[in-house]
């Protein structure tokens, strides 16, 4: 029933009001005397050499792309799993075909070395 979703939003609203209120309350009572050293980027007391907005390894991008592919597959499996008993042998065979294609892709990705973290 759609009205069953309303309490989720009520709950989120309660939290959404409570958290900024906590921050605001803290702002009223806490001390506030920043100094130059306190405001430096924290690097264990050493002066930072350059900005943190640098480049980082391409592995993170590969993981993100692989995630999208495999997560879509997971999402596709969920409705099938819920209706598994109704679909019977037909559903089983269809999903096995889908999984074989997917596993072939997985093996290819593995063989290409996309899963190696060097």
């Amino acid at each position: 029933m759609p009205q069953n979703y309303v309490p989720i939003f009520i709950f989120m609203a309660v939290i959404g009001v409570l958290l900024p209120l906590t921050l605001l309350a803290a702002k009223l009572v806490r001390p506030d005397n920043p100094s130059k050293t306190k405001l430096m980027p924290y690097e264990c007391g050493i002066d930072p050499i350059d900005s943190a907005r640098g480049r980082y390894t391409v592995r993170y991008y590969i993981v993100a792309i692989l995630f999208v592919v495999f997560d879509v597959e997971t999402i596709f499996l969920f409705p099938w799993a819920v209706k598994f008993k109704a679909l019977g042998i037909f559903g089983l065979v269809e999903m096995m075909v889908f999984l074989v294609i997917l596993i072939a892709g997985f093996v290819w990705v593995w063989a290409k070395g996309a899963l190696e973290w060097v």
Binding site: V6, F11, M12, P41, Y42, E43, A64, F84, M96
Partner: protein, 369 residues
């Protein structure tokens, strides 16, 4: 008999407040439990000074968080820097709203006294009638896609961590945020696939239906929980993936104190830091709830005693099972060292993912046959 709309909203608000209160208290005392248990494991006492057994320590910590100086350094991107901890905590807390804690609580039917006027939304205008019985579930709301909802909301948690890491404009934070997002998305696949076996067996996304399907016993004494019902491997995949999702030891690479200081929350202090902390422990509790509901029969357990005790025992069993999970979390933290990052990634992609697919295929063939 469905509740009238105004009463429904009132009940939801009251339930939200109760659940939030209980949950945040549970979070505070999980921190206390962790410090105490890890302390004893390392031959220390843990907190002892504030109250008996250090039991007032969470309150003292809360007050201290409130009164600490809260630095917002000039090099951060301020809107996201402030929003990130709140996002992390909001998404962590929201997932609890669809989790059932027990059966429903039934009250009524009542006969309304003759003199009492009632609101027009009621099915009658004046007293003297009989209303009810009303049944209120031990749950903020019962949606029929509860599990999907939890998966969706908890995976939003990665935004809080990733944005905190990026907006801090600090190298440690950036590395922590990157590590956290890569790790959380990698293990999310294994996590999702490990649940498919349970879904095949129970045929529903509704957490209540999944728990109901686990009632009864095998041969009269082994409870019919999913973990004893062919989902043993599924449970362990879920457990390991969930540890990685919550950034806990042995998968706490994003925070790795010895290399990244504190990872994505290096630049955070005071209340904002507390929010990340609370989000982490709330996620632990959510993981415990989901594991209990899907694999350990939810609130099923022996029932005895007078009717009131019988009504409350399921909630007790549910809480007891979650407590066991939290204890396991702490135990693991006191026992295992941290993975290396390449080990973490190859464990998730090359071991857990194929194992989860194999488990799913085996379950499907077994159930069809």
């Amino acid at each position: 008999m469905p509740l009238p709309l105004s009463i429904f909203i009132l009940v939801s608000v009251i339930k939200s407040a109760i659940v939030l209160g209980v949950l945040l208290t549970a979070v505070a005392y999980t921190v206390w439990l962790e410090r105490k248990v890890v302390g004893h494991m390392q031959n220390r006492w843990g907190p002892t000074r504030v109250g008996p057994f250090g039991l007032l320590q969470p309150a003292a910590d809360g007050i201290k968080f409130l009164f600490k100086e809260d630095l917002t350094p000039p090099h951060v991107y301020k809107p996201l820097f402030i929003a990130a901890p709140m996002m992390a905590l909001i998404f962590a807390l929201t997932s609890i709203s669809v989790i059932p804690f027990g059966n429903s609580f039934t009250f009524g039917p009542f006969s309304v006294p003759q003199f009492l006027p009632f609101h027009y939304e009621m099915p009658f205008h004046w007293g003297g009638a009989v209303i009810g019985p009303y049944s209120i579930p031990f749950q903020i709301t019962d949606v029929n896609i509860g599990l999907l909802m939890i998966l969706g909301v908890t995976s939003m948690g990665v935004y809080g961590v990733a944005l905190a890491g990026w907006s801090s404009n600090n190298k440690y934070s950036l590395l922590g945020g990157l590590r956290a997002s890569a790790q959380m998305v990698s293990y999310e696949i294994a996590l999702g696939l490990s649940l498919v076996g349970v879904l095949i067996q129970s045929g529903s996304f509704s957490l209540r239906a999944i728990v109901d399907a686990q009632g009864g016993h095998f041969w009269g004494f082994i409870p019919r929980w999913n973990i004893f019902h062919w989902q043993f491997i599924g449970f362990f995949i879920y457990l390991m993936a969930a540890y990685a999702e919550t950034n806990r030891i042995p998968f706490d690479l994003p925070e790795a104190e010895t290399e990244l200081v504190a990872g994505y929350h290096t630049e955070y202090s005071a209340m904002k830091f507390a929010m990340f902390f609370m989000a982490e422990y709330t996620n632990m509790i959510t993981v415990g709830c989901v594991a209990t509901l899907l694999f350990f029969g939810g609130w099923h357990g022996p029932l005895f005693g007078p009717p009131l005790v019988q009504a409350l025992l399921p909630v007790f069993w549910f809480a007891a099972k979650i407590f066991c999970f939290l204890f396991l979390y702490i135990w693991v933290r006191g026992t295992l060292p941290r993975f290396r990052y390449d080990q973490l990634m190859s464990f998730g992609w090359k071991f857990l993912l194929p194992l989860a697919i194999a488990n799913l295929v085996a379950t499907a063939i077994f159930v069809a046959w």
